[in-house]
């Protein structure tokens, strides 16, 4: 359903990529190889060349904000634009239910962002993405700051989304996580995308 053809930008050699419904692809490679740039290019967050379409509709045909809500990128370092956690969630009821699934207390919505730990913030940021129910999720190291138990929770939730037909492109440095989550592996090296594990 997501079809990428000859997508490129400075630091990223042209590449093709197809993601089917319910498919999870793991992307690995050394730091600075261009993994983040690749995710950002698909989400159209930086100027880039090439064509990307979702279910046959080119992204130029869709306003950029709608495109990004459907093909949603989550940065490794989450950003916060208000003081309280709740201000980042349009629907706090739905958010509270999801926080429990992510083993966060529902009271977390009343916290100030600065109070949350790195791992808590990472899950809160993921919750923002999950609540949009995007067709494609582009996740940049979504469990890097989590303990194994919390990471397993996140993997389980993502697995459930895959079963419901979402597609996932996930950057991970952990071969174990890549093996658990993805049938297909890609490797980034000096701005080039290659099939297979490193």
């Amino acid at each position: 359903m997501l079809r990428v053809r000859q997508l490129s930008r400075p630091g990223l050699a042209p590449f093709d990529l197809d993601l089917a419904d319910g498919e999870c692809v793991a992307l690995s490679g050394p730091s600075g190889a261009g993994k983040t740039i690749l995710l950002r290019a698909i989400a159209d967050l930086d100027p880039n060349q090439g064509s990307v379409s979702l279910d046959g509709v080119g992204r130029e045909a869709i306003p950029a904000p709608q495109w990004r809500a459907r093909v949603c990128y989550l940065a490794a370092e989450a950003g916060w634009w208000a003081d309280t956690v709740a201000a980042h969630f349009p629907d706090t009821q739905a958010a509270a239910a999801l926080l429990v699934e992510l083993s966060l207390p529902p009271e977390a919505l009343g916290w100030s962002v600065s109070r949350a730990s790195t791992g808590e913030r990472q899950r809160l940021a993921l919750a923002r993405v999950l609540l949009l129910a995007p067709r494609v999720m582009l996740l940049d190291e979504p469990t890097s700051g989590l303990d194994p138990e919390a990471a397993a929770r996140v993997e389980a939730i993502l697995g459930a989304r895959l079963e419901r037909g979402a597609a996932l492109l996930v950057v991970t440095h952990s071969p174990e996580q890549a093996g658990r989550m993805a049938r297909r592996r890609l490797t980034m090296d000096h701005g080039r995308l290659n099939e297979g594990p490193p």
């Binding site: 989400a43 159209d44 967050l45 100027p47 904000p65 809500a69 940065a75 634009w81 923002r128």
Partner: protein
């Protein structure tokens, strides 16, 4: 009370204060003496030139020369705005956004005041138009430079949170809203503060001038109020125009944050 004329010796005597301060700076090695000397010299040369130019312009009373002078004032104000930015947009934009905003705001407000309130004969009378334009422009310049500086610095500092919003499907107006509001506030605060403090903390320069020239206090107050309203209006229009244009330039039609349109390197001083 009548107007008391000053001799150049009187003026020179007032400069003694600055010389003493420059001496102190040298003695304490504060490194300010050079800057003070350059600024003071610039002030003397610029004002003397302006005196000569105004003398000629007032005698000629030509609409073309008057508007040309106003334009030159705007262009210098634009240069000043650019010089005060820690970060700059690449290319013509660094100069263009502030200058265009001030040109529109300054001209609009000045023409409005000349044609509907002060109504000199003829309406472009340089004796009225140029000082008025100068006062409006001077204040608008401060607001615009503060606003643009805050916008550009703010967008760089808030990059992660702006892009987090964009990635979640917020449009550029929402995503940059916080930074834009902060920049508008920063640009307008000096004007708002001076409106609250005027008359309590200080007697503004124009009113002081009119009183020294022998005008009755109440007449001077009316002029000052008019000018303060014009200044506040002009500054608000100028800041709004410059900050909104700047935020458009920092983003694009695909709702991306375009920090690549800032000059690299100009940041760390």
């Amino acid at each position: 009370m009548t107007f008391i004329s000053l001799s150049f010796a009187d003026v020179a005597l007032s400069a003694v204060l600055l010389v003493v301060n420059a001496g102190l700076s040298l003695a304490l090695s504060l490194g300010l003496a050079r800057q003070m000397a350059i600024a003071a010299t610039r002030m003397v040369v610029q004002l003397l030139l302006m005196g000569l130019v105004l003398k000629v312009l007032f005698e000629l009373s030509s609409p073309l020369l008057t508007s040309l002078t106003a334009l030159v004032m705007v262009l210098f104000a634009g240069r000043e705005v650019m010089a005060r930015q820690k970060r700059r947009l690449a290319g013509w934009w660094a100069y263009g956004i502030g200058t265009t905003a001030m040109l529109f705001a300054g001209t609009m407000v000045t023409v409005f005041a000349l044609t509907t309130q002060i109504r000199p004969e003829p309406w472009f009378e340089p004796r009225v138009a140029l000082p008025l334009m100068g006062m409006i422009l001077g204040n608008t310049m401060t607001g615009v430079s503060l606003g643009i500086d805050r916008l550009l610095t703010g967008a760089v500092d808030a990059r992660v949170s702006i892009e987090a919003r964009l990635a979640l499907g917020h449009d550029r107006t929402e995503a940059m809203g916080g930074v834009v509001r902060e920049a508008l506030r920063t640009g307008l605060v000096p004007t708002i503060n001076s409106m609250s403090a005027v008359g309590l903390v200080f007697i503004p320069g124009m009113m002081t001038g009119q009183i020294l020239a022998g005008v009755a206090p109440m007449e001077a107050v009316k002029y000052q109020l008019l000018v303060m309203f014009l200044i506040a209006g002009g500054t608000a229009f100028g800041v709004l125009g410059a900050v909104l244009a700047g935020s458009r330039r920092l983003s694009d039609a695909r709702h991306r944050l375009r920090l690549d349109r800032l000059l690299p390197g100009a940041a760390e001083d």
